[in-house]
Symmetry: C2
Subunit: 356 residues, 2 copies
Amino acid sequence: MKKHNFYAGPAILPASVMAEAAQSVVDFEGIGLSILEISHRSKECTAMLEEAEALVRELLGLTDGYAVLFLTGGASTQFFTVAHNLLNKDLKAAYVDTGSWSSKAIKEAKEYGQLEVLASSKDKNFSYVPKGYDIPEDLAYLHLTSNNTIFGTQLKEFPATEVPLVCDMSSDIFSRPLDISRFGIIYAGAQKNLGPAGVTLVILKKDLLSKIQRTMPTMLNYSTHVEKKSTFNTPPVFPIYVSMLTLRWLKANGGLAAMAARNEEKAQLLYDEIDSNPLFEGVAAKEDRSLMNVTFVMSAGNEGLTDKFLADCAAAGCIGVKGHRSVGGFRASIYNAMPKEGVQTLVDVMKALGNK
Amino acid sequence: MKKHNFYAGPAILPASVMAEAAQSVVDFEGIGLSILEISHRSKECTAMLEEAEALVRELLGLTDGYAVLFLTGGASTQFFTVAHNLLNKDLKAAYVDTGSWSSKAIKEAKEYGQLEVLASSKDKNFSYVPKGYDIPEDLAYLHLTSNNTIFGTQLKEFPATEVPLVCDMSSDIFSRPLDISRFGIIYAGAQKNLGPAGVTLVILKKDLLSKIQRTMPTMLNYSTHVEKKSTFNTPPVFPIYVSMLTLRWLKANGGLAAMAARNEEKAQLLYDEIDSNPLFEGVAAKEDRSLMNVTFVMSAGNEGLTDKFLADCAAAGCIGVKGHRSVGGFRASIYNAMPKEGVQTLVDVMKALGNK
């Protein structure tokens, strides 16, 4: 049976990417060796790393003022690394608290300098995105989380400010066109829209790096990785390679504008069913609904159908639909690589439950 | 043409491991999804992570007092993480400087506490392993590098001391039986004897972790990963998976004692040729020669044959034989997965050069 992968992360990747990656695990580009066993300084691996960076630059339209880094440790490592590189006790940074991940980012950063939480949606279990807060002008940076995987909300607009934006885009990078010039640092664990687990993409404006003095471990200093082009030590070759293949696929399928249109269409299909089927209701405020992670629950009085619905999903090949424990109910993650037919299959299961 | 992979790292892995890994990139255990796209909290992935840990425990004979962690960031990240967790300004640690990697470990650790370098072989470009140094009794730990990939030396014995040993075993872990009870922490980037790039194995005695007080980023605190069994955040699933397959292969092929015998035999074959062929000479002191990385150069007067020899190697399918720039000449890395026939092919090329 065909499986439809709704996992929140690690998550669905294009089938063609998996097929090519599998071939390269046996023999990479016909060189008679696996991608897993070649030196990261070999000419084949160097060319692959360069192509990965070039694709990031092309798809996002980056200028030379930005560095593109392939690191490890996930967004969880960036939570403190950002502050470690940009903040000290004389400087102030601001955060907007939109869910579990931004709360963790705040916790890790506050050891390094003055932190101000400008707004939070914790009062309603992070089911909306705060707006209209004032942004001080004297900030080292303003930290945002563009998409909240657990709660199913997404920033539709980024605040207008001269302050450098630092943004955790782990779960919606490459899902829509962006004006990168407004961002100082973008970081993203790859395992949602970019590739498999094991690599973290960091995009940073190089002129941000000379603002503070701190003795840092070499590996925590962004400048190390900028200077050495992510090969100060052995990078996670295969996770980068699969990300590169995914970026090739993205480009071949029309780039970010085409992805955005496709993502809008898929999300609309699912939200329309949630709104029209009396058995279900959405979790997030409508204007803040994520196009990546669709959260919903059984409507009041129908909670008893939860297990039945999950069993129906499994029977239809829909995997990973159970909601996160912080929200309950259901979550369908429909990243770039999810085809419309996968969403349609889930919608059909929802409709069938209503007709029984 | 069959390729013989002598890269120092990322390095050769068993062919059967690569074949199985490729299959799992397409369909993992028949579940209809790739290993690259399943949640790290799925039951299939959880079982795989548990098997990886169990194999490390079984092969090394670990007691419950040790934790087994699968982290990221390589040995370069462990250089400062070890000190971050075990050292402060009131405590002293000692290091033995046996090459580039231990020099980097010293550099990263000295910000955290009092450091003493007990011995160094820098005077002879790290071509031997210092011995017979005195070890103070008041150390938080003594740091060693068991195998020096660049210079081709290896510790044949570990110093007798009650001080906890911290050891970078990146390039010879799982190559021979070890009395683990003498070690406080062992760390190893996977990409030599264990798996592909992208995962770092850390084995640590849990009672070492409560010795100092320091406010630490959550991700740098070993206790985080001990408590969460390496899944505080998304672990590098595929690199761990390939490591698990390699450990299965190791166990099926007789475990560490069998590996040690095989590694002795392969190294002997190559060192015998270096010692008997007048065109070549070894770099490392004979009693300290590495069984993993065999370093050698053209003998005096024959330096002009360097390029010819490298071309002959390439023609015979031997890849990655060029020496590191710090040493020059040649380096043949003959980790666990290198079959004897690969070493024999290289020896045949050396013999043929002598006969021309």
